[in-house]
Point group: C2
Chain length 261, copies 2
């Protein structure tokens, strides 16, 4: 390590990587940055995903085991910080190929628990739903409609590595995702505060796809009507609703519990 001169922020490769903070560049190149050791570990667990890892000299030593088989470019602190949107970067950022799979691949893998997000807009919410889906043992996730970019740095960070743990599809039309799930025998449940079925009275034991809507306006009626049931989380107090990722957690764990009972 001592004889390697760290790359600086003006280095051509670092500059190119930095452009990936823009969604348009990420989409065009089908590349993104995964920031922090959990994300880098997740990315390295997928064959062919990582192009290279940028690491500060200190992080290169600290994460020596993690980076043992990776292509690593040692960069200085300033160059690393320019690749991270974190307030206190952990010192490792992986340049990765996009990992979303075609919708059919995600749906035809016979999932028992699938998540379809329509128009989730907040990067932190989207990341949190992916993390929770992973924890609850979901088999895949579809970001549909006008959802936030799965490769947004905030989304990637809030998945804490889970982005790399379960199959992900991106589908412009949420109705196509719903119909694909139904065609594979999944019951599609729309999470809908105005739904007529109580979450804890619903039969959740079979293969299920949960459909979640936007943070502010929920699910458009024409989309919710495609679902097999519209399911509401009971509100016992005076709150009017739950935050999207919170609601998703309650629904997904109710399913996990019923399916594993």
């Amino acid at each position: 390590m001592n004889d390697v001169t760290p790359l600086v922020a003006s280095n051509a490769r670092v500059k190119e990587a930095r452009k990936l903070s823009r969604r348009s560049v990420r989409t065009e190149r089908r590349l993104f940055l995964a920031d922090g050791p959990k994300a880098v570990e997740g990315a390295l667990s997928i064959d062919g995903c990582v192009v290279e890892v940028f690491a500060t000299p200190a992080a290169f030593e600290q994460y020596a085991d993690l980076l043992a088989s990776a292509v690593v470019s040692v960069v200085d602190e300033r160059a690393l910080a320019s690749l991270s949107d974190s307030v206190s970067p952990a010192g490792v950022v992986a340049l990765c190929h996009h990992i979303d799979a075609p919708l059919e691949h995600v749906v035809t893998a016979s999932p028992r628990l699938l998540v379809i997000c329509a128009d989730v807009r907040d990067p932190g919410n989207a990341g949190n739903v992916i993390r929770t889906a992973d924890a609850a043992g979901a088999d895949g996730i579809v970001l549909a409609g006008q959802s936030v970019d799965a490769y947004n740095p905030k989304t990637v960070r809030s998945t804490v590595g889970s982005l790399f743990h379960l199959p992900l599809a991106v589908e412009r039309d949420p109705a196509i995702a719903v119909r694909a799930a139904q065609a594979r025998g999944l019951t599609v449940l729309a999470a809908d505060g105005a739904g007529d079925v109580d979450l804890f009275e619903a039969d959740l034991s079979g293969p299920t796809a949960w459909l979640f809507g936007n943070e502010a306006w929920g699910l458009p009626d024409e989309l919710a009507r495609l679902a097999d049931q519209r399911v509401a989380i009971p509100i016992h107090g005076r709150a009017e609703s739950l935050n999207l990722s919170t609601a998703a957690a309650v629904c997904l764990y109710a399913s996990a519990r019923a399916q594993r009972a």
Copy 2:
């Protein structure tokens, strides 16, 4: 309305209110700002809580019913924006007295479901836990230890009015809150990823206080050991843990379900 000249940002009362963006000023004066119609509605539902409501001329008309019995100061858009930390302010901000009650009041009200947060640091997480506690029908919440200020604008905003829906106590020492709950016959359950009891195998039917720790480091061992049980949410996938407010939602709804079965 047409003959009222809106107050401007340099108005003395507006300037004084603006100082409440600082925690030290909020704590000293025991005042805070509640931003947006849901928060203002919640504040107005508590006798003596609201000192005055600042509203733009447009919001004063739009929320005429809500503000019918309130003391309202009409302010211009710029003055209102200076009182709001929201990117797109809704036009109404209430100047409120602090509403936290002594710990004994919250605990002696014979709660069946109580939430104790120790060292929750992120304002959005804290607000989200309060909102979820309300939705799950909790009877009170204690922000303990080095928790974020309950009156932080981001916390207030993310409760979406729930801050005003259930009794809140602030207690510097989390151990005191735990012991107070136990003294009133509540079973204290520590949410702990390393806990030895599976959430879905625990008996949650009795009066319960949930103890949640910090976002990054969880519960200190000496605090978790005071709890009657250390309960873990099962992780079925490859995620290492759940986000704090997500975990709280799963635990609180598991309790609500068991208590109401």
